[in-house]
Amino acid sequence: MDYTVIIGLEVHVQLLTKTKLYCGCANLFNPDNPNVQTCPVCLGLPGSLPVLNKRAVELAVRTGLALNLDISQYTKWDRKQYYYPDLPKNYQISQYDLPITHDGWLEIEVNADTGERKRVGIIRAHLEEDAGKNMHDERGRGDSQVDLNRAGTPLLEIVSKTDIRSAAEARKYLEELKLLLLYLGVSDCNMQEGSLRCDANVNLHVHTNDGHNIPTPITEIKNVNSFRNVELAITSEVERQFEEYKRTGKKLGDPGATKETRGFNAATGKTFAQRGKEEAHDYRYFPEPDLCPVTFTEEQIQAVRESLIEFPADRRTRMQAAYQISPYDAAVIVDQQTEFADFYETVAKGCGDGKQAANWMTQDVLREMNDRKLTIGTFPIRPEVLCAILKKINQGDITIKAGRDVFMALLEDASMGTDVIIDPERVDRIIAEKGLAIVKDTGAIEAAIAAAIAKNEKAVADFKSGKQAAVGKLIGEVMKQCKGADPQTVRTMLLETLAKA
């Protein structure tokens, strides 16, 4: 007896608008100043009227196109009625039967080794308002505090099909979705601040030994606060459902086997049952009479499509081909967001060596960026300067090691806070000051070798009597004279000279 895992994800993302969805209050995460971003509309006061935020609609369309969704030519909003203290109107203005976008997909990588990819279907993405924030008294006593700063801020709810087959795939889907949303600039996807929230619907199709496929009851895991925990929660929920099935044989549709809501306890790594609502949800949706419907023409949709930037998946593929870099390097660079990838492309084009540029970006730049808590935007070595260093290496003017020395010296300049301008000229100056240029003038090396031999008679005698190690001292002497010389060249020339002597 084995089973197939069936997962569908519902993701809520906060849109990066300046104002709320139906009123002009600021859309700003501001937990330290509760209830300062409200007005009669988002407080649900009688007589107020919502008006739709144009920008939120544009961001929804942009996201829709990026997720290969169809944009509805006619869309409207509906009231979803329920009572909760953080929902002042006692209904949420959401979308029911005619969502703004529907029927698309997101492609994810399911096998890092083979690069195998699959499409996860997306049923719909609709535009709705967020609720406020309800804070419970920790000890379970006293009143709850309600902050309505968030009430009415714009959310896009993205509902996947149940195409996801493992906890790892669920995590991949979320990571790819987040990357795409960041690329599009539609959300900051900050999970800590609740800008991206995920609910997972999970069940199993148990394949019995007599050849039947039995679906287990569906559970919804709510409010998991990181992608890693989503993965852990699903893994533990899958095990729990299989054990439960073996124990009880309960299947989807059995009396009493209704959809269950579960939470996740990160400390135990297990999901737990949340007390079921006394009554089944009955939202009694009806068209929102206070908001007008929205229509799109094919030309409008086309205009948004043309304004879209390149999507991460396309960019990885293009960069691999254009700069001859590995899928791994392309992924690391693209995963760092648009600005980093733009930086890389400027360097790669400028120095004409995509592979070399990728090595530096994914190792040196990324490491120093993280160590020094910088972003690519505040990184003191700009693309044209890194380009100058890489060119010097490629032309054989300096060694890779010397290139790293220059790189670190420039960062040192920056961290000293001096008014040194970090430009290609500064690169030249450091190379000169530190004597890092590879000495191509063999005459100078020959002279230094002759001098070293004359000065170190003992070392020469030792070498001739078979002490190989003595040559190291001589190489050191020569290198001291010609700092930029390539040690390998010096060694070869020195051995030749000694053999002749």
Partner: protein, 98 residues
Amino acid sequence: MAEPLSLDKVQRVANLARLKLSTDELQAMTTQLGRILDYVDRLSELDTEDVAPMAHAVEVSNVFREDVVVDSLPRPEALKNAPKTDGRFFLVPQVIEH
């Protein structure tokens, strides 16, 4: 003809709307609501064969607001009508969760 409206159904709708109805009120509501539904039901006598379904009663579309911040209410104004506050938050009875 639609099914006659039952007391149970009206009670359920009342619960969903957080309305407490006495037995007399429930009876009266059931009769009155039933009459309204019967009246609306007469619409089904119309032949709508070639009429496109209407999703919204308003015929205007595409009314937008630019994404520009306007002043919000000062906090004391926002909290003014609340039955209970602590000067910063609305205070409500503990909602049972989990």
